[in-house]
């Protein structure tokens, strides 16, 4: 019999894409390792002041 699958997912990159994927995976019932090479997650979006076109704050 094949080995039982793991219910964990490795997400590489903690920018908006990685964080969103991790949140949805966790909500879907999986355990997520969110890995980033920097000291904190957030990626480039954390550097933005506002976003187009709504000018919402990006943090």
């Amino acid at each position: 019999m094949a080995k039982k699958k793991s219910g964990k997912v490795l997400v590489l990159g903690g920018g908006i894409t990685g964080v969103q994927a991790a949140l949805d995976l966790a909500d879907l019932g999986y355990y997520v390792y969110l890995v980033d090479k920097k000291a904190s997650i957030g990626g480039v979006m954390a550097q933005l002041d506002k976003t187009f076109p709504t000018n919402d704050c990006s943090i």
């Binding site: 590489l12 000291a39 002041d49």
Partner: protein, 957 residues
């Protein structure tokens, strides 16, 4: 950010993937984790290490515009909120010389001898979300970057405009710290430029340039701003409108020209450029902003080699239109800008889609490794006692305490009625303080808690959870935002800020005394989905949900599945669209969990998230089904405007008609010698206000297909802006090389149809020649755009709003691109807005991910703040039901009269109903009239004090 709080997300920073082995479902990943030199369990993020660190370092987070320290956190809101030592800069780590940070660190969190760690993880799937890289500085040098200080990159400007940035939001010239009066934005720097190896379009710069220009204008209303474009590429949903609005509001000048270089003349910067009429201009500016494109991520190559992932010729992950999330390694997926340059909403869509893709792969082990958090039972007896209020006043490091006298506020709080415990805390949100909070609640038998700190928007859920851990109902907390509303806005007047903080605390205490426990409701979910629409979007969404293990009802109003995709016969990637469609249909039709209804319409969707009931009608009769969620994939239609003789002259056809002709042998196409394509016919301001996003790619694709089949034919494409964004820019370049002629037309001088006997032609003004041209058109192909399908009816049935253009309006244009304001209803494909196939397929999966969340949980938790109707007071006027934006109030028959009733699962607690009820029969959980009035009365003390002070002053005078 929310990710920091989920028990099922483990954040590992300073780490890279060294090795991956195994197969889908069972991978082994080896991580190399660099030391942080700070113990995460001890660090309270107080910032003392940064304050005392003597080593100044260039601040990369602020784009090197200012300095930070070797011991630091990158920005105040960083997750995890733990400081770190910069290995390369720290004096101790480099020279064994200093240890100031360790000396001042209260909790002894500094660990100089921390070692790198190797860690092995077992995972079922891998997602690569590497983001994007920086365009090398050499590329920017030809624009004077690095040589002239007032040439900035767009990210540098982003930091300058930011209130927490190096200049606190002041836009100044780095050379002399003066405000720039004239600013130029240069687009396509490091994009659409084969000389630097980036032939693609970065797809986001036109939008962010417009945003930055607008923000600058808000800071400096006097500034004159010019933007230099090759094409204006604002093809996203609602983007054209936003762009035009900004141009009009701020009076920006948009110029079609590519500026080749920047010179400094005196203290100003000179741009020399040629406009489309062939004239040379020279203009002077005080600041030049380079709209720098998105490069492939820098670490992509190394990682690709380690994992055996194929990259495309630009260094981004190689994917197909039909499978935009798959790399060539099974079980390793890709999402976001690493798959190709894209903006935030597109990245979020792919992130959600990739979650669905992983969930399809691992459906059988869902929940196996997830951690479920348990809370102790509520102490109802304690909750019923007279209010025993605990007030915690937060320093937020120096963020609040630097302005507000926190200790004084805490002292004042202890004198308020009902308050039995007060304390000032350094960081109320740090983990150790939260643990303390639980202890204090239990020790002092507190049954109401007031936190005077920051915004409930970001922190209330955290404190609510803490209350639950202490055995209290989460509704028994009230926050006073003394950070934003006192420390921040009254930073220059500490005394007044402290006084206001006291007022706010008094009001919060008054309200807290009247808070009542609210029941946390759970509604069970019918584990199936209704997907409306059997085109590409609906098929992909249905398939994904079914593969995740849930029943799907797929409804298509026509007798055949496939929608608009049935008419598409080629793709730029070389993939065959009919093959993609066939595969999708085959998989959906053979899936045991999908029930397909062709020739069927949906009538009457009622209910709420988790429990919908719908009637499916077809000729033979109707069927009633129960389902937990709804996906709207109702598609769009080809626009067929009465322009250029479409529908009257058989030589005039649309791009979709042409796709059909391209498959035929012989026919009109083979006879035509000269073929003219016109872009934006009926779009961007005519019958349709918007851009349909895909027509430019489609025109280039079809032109190339014609050229390949019939190399001798003359092809002209008349356009306003060529919007071949992303990698399709390659095809645009290829088309020009292949001899296809592109002519830009001006909005006020659009091409005109000319009939000469039996032959057709087009008259167009050519700006470069400065004269009108006549081009014969044996075949005239119109790019006509996409109109919404029959969205209006469904929108009324489920109370989901549409945009002004008739597409479904998502819950948040950036962060919730597939959710609708109505819970349990999701949208994808053309029903959301025009988009090419690849984006439709990704969005369909994103909708499938969001829809599968309630199905996977099996229940929906209803936020406790919902409206409640006192039916003995209700007069049945129905105002509330008509006003509710979420369809959460229904009118039910009680005895002989109609009464309002809240559908708690749909209620969002906005309070519109309560504020409009003429007989005050509706109250909001957590915001009862009584509690709000008490809060206002407590505010009254301030008014009285003011009045007294005024009289005193007057008397003194």
């Amino acid at each position: 950010m929310e990710a920091g709080r989920s028990p099922n997300i483990e954040i590992i920073t300073l780490a890279e993937l060294k090795e991956l082995s195994g197969k889908p479902g069972n991978f082994r990943a080896k991580l190399h984790i660099r030391p942080r030199y700070v113990d995460p369990l001890k660090c309270t993020s107080c910032g003392m290490c940064t304050t005392y660190c003597p080593k100044e370092v260039v601040d990369e987070y602020n784009e090197r515009l200012t300095f930070t320290k070797a011991a630091r956190i990158d920005y105040a809101q960083a997750v995890p909120t733990i400081y770190y030592l910069d290995e390369k800069e720290c004096l101790r780590l480099q020279h064994e010389s200093c240890q100031l940070c360790a000396n001042v660190c209260g909790p002894n969190a500094i660990v100089f001898d921390q070692q790198p760690e190797e860690r092995e993880l077992e995972v079922g799937a891998v997602v690569l979300a590497l983001g994007f890289g920086r365009v090398p500085e050499e590329v920017l040098e030809k624009y004077g970057y690095g040589k002239y200080p007032d040439v900035l990159t767009s990210l540098e400007l982003e930091r300058l405009t930011c209130a927490s940035g190096p200049t606190e939001g002041e836009v100044i010239r780095p050379s002399d710290f003066t405000h720039p009066r004239r600013i130029a934005f240069l687009q396509c720097v490091g994009s659409r430029d084969v000389t630097c190896g980036n032939g693609y379009c970065s797809s986001v710069c036109c939008m962010y340039a417009m945003k930055e220009a607008s923000v600058v204008k808000e800071h400096l209303p006097e500034a004159e701003i010019d933007l230099f474009f090759m094409d204006i590429r604002t093809q996203g949903k609602g983007f054209d409108e936003a762009f035009n609005r900004a141009v009009e509001k701020y009076g920006f000048r948009t110029i079609y020209a590519r500026v080749p270089r920047v010179d400094q003349v005196g203290r100003r910067l000179a741009l020399t450029y040629v406009t489309e009429d062939g004239k040379t201009h020279r203009d002077f500016y005080d600041m030049v902003v380079l709209s720098v494109g998105l490069d492939a991520p820098q670490d992509a190559e190394v990682l690709a080699e380690r994992l055996g992932i194929e990259l495309n010729h630009y260094g981004f992950a190689k994917t197909k239109v039909s499978t935009p999330l798959e790399t060539n390694v099974p079980g390793v997926f890709v999402a976001g800008a690493f798959q190709g340059p894209k903006d935030i909403p597109e990245s979020v869509v792919q992130a959600q889609a990739v979650a669905a893709r992983c969930s399809e792969l691992l459906a059988e082990v869902r929940g196996q490794d997830a951690i479920h958090k348990e809370f102790p039972p509520e102490d109802e007896e304690l909750e019923r006692l007279e209010p025993r209020i605990g007030v915690f006043v937060c320093h937020c490091g120096v963020n609040i305490a630097g302005v507000v006298n926190v200790k004084e506020v805490a002292r004042y709080a202890s004198t308020l009625p009902g308050v039995v415990y007060t304390e000032d805390v350094l960081y109320s949100c740090s983990q150790d303080t939260l643990n303390e909070l639980v202890k204090k609640i239990k020790e002092n038998r507190l049954n109401r808690v007031v936190i005077a700190a920051c915004s409930p928007r970001t922190h209330e859920p955290l404190f609510q959870e803490t209350l639950r851990e202490a055995g209290l109902n989460p509704a028994l907390i009230e926050m006073a935002n003394i950070r934003d509303q006192c420390a921040w806005v009254h930073a220059e007047d500490p005394e007044a800020a402290t006084q206001k903080a006291k007022d706010q605390v008094r009001m919060a205490v008054a309200k807290a005394a009247r808070l009542m426990p609210l029941e946390l409701q759970r509604v069970s979910v019918t584990p199936s989905a209704l997907v409306i629409g059997g085109g590409a979007a609906g098929l992909q969404a249905a398939l994904s949900i079914a593969n995740q293990g849930f029943e799907v009802y797929l409804v298509e109003k026509e007798e055949e599945l496939g929608g608009n995709l049935r008419r598409v016969t080629g793709l730029l990637s070389g993939e065959r669209p009919q093959k993609i469609l066939e595969d999708l249909i085959k998989q959906v039709e053979s899936h045991p969990k999908v029930k397909i209804y062709k020739g069927t319409t949906v009538e009457n969707i009622s209910g709420y998230v988790g429990n919908f009931t719908s009637t499916l009608r077809r000729e033979e009769g109707s069927e009633v089904i129960n389902h937990g969620v709804v996906i709207l994939a109702t598609g769009g239609k080809e626009h067929r405007p009465v322009l250029f003789g479409l529908g009257e002259n058989e030589r005039v056809l649309t791009q979709l008609d042409l796709e059909g002709e391209l498959e035929k042998k012989g026919g009109r196409l083979s006879r035509a010698k000269s073929i003219v394509m016109i872009q934006c016919v009926g779009s961007r301001g005519e019958d349709l206000k918007y851009c349909s996003k895909l027509c430019c790619q489609q025109a280039v694709k079809n032109a190339l297909r014609i050229k390949k089949k019939y190399p001798k034919k003359d092809i002209y494409i008349l356009f306003r802006d060529m919007r071949t964004y992303g990698f399709s820019e390659d095809a645009y370049r290829e088309a020009r090389k292949a001899g296809i002629i592109f002519i830009r037309y001006q909005v006020d001088r659009k091409p005109e149809l000319v009939k000469r006997g039996k032959s057709l032609g087009v008259k167009i003004y050519d700006a470069l020649l400065g004269e009108e041209l006549f081009i014969p058109a044996d075949l005239l192909v119109l790019s006509v755009g996409i109109t919404p399908g029959e969205n209006e009816e469904i929108s009324k049935v489920i109370k989901a709003p549409l945009t002004g253009d008739g597409f479904f309006l998502e819950a948040h244009v950036k962060l919730m691109p597939v959710e609708l304001p109505v819970e349990g209803v999701y949208v994808c494909g053309l029903a959301h807005g025009p988009k090419p196939l690849e984006e439709t397929l990704a969005q369909a999966r994103a909708a499938a991910a969001k829809a599968a969340i309630p199905l996977a949980k099996g229940y929906v938790e209803v936020a406790p703040i919902v409206s409640r109707v006192d039916q003995s007071k209700c007069i049945g006027c129905g105002i509330c039901a008509a006003l509710c934006p979420y369809g959460a109030i229904e009118m039910v028959k009680v005895g002989k009269r109609k009464k309002a009733q809240t559908i708690t699962a749909s209620c969002k607690g906005c309070g519109i109903c309560a504020s409009h009820c003429p007989v005050l029969a509706i109250s909001m959980g957590g915001f009862t009239d009584e509690a709000i009035l008490a809060q206002i009365e407590a505010f009254g003390a301030f008014v009285e004090r003011e009045a007294e002070e005024k009289t005193e002053k007057e008397e003194a005078a």
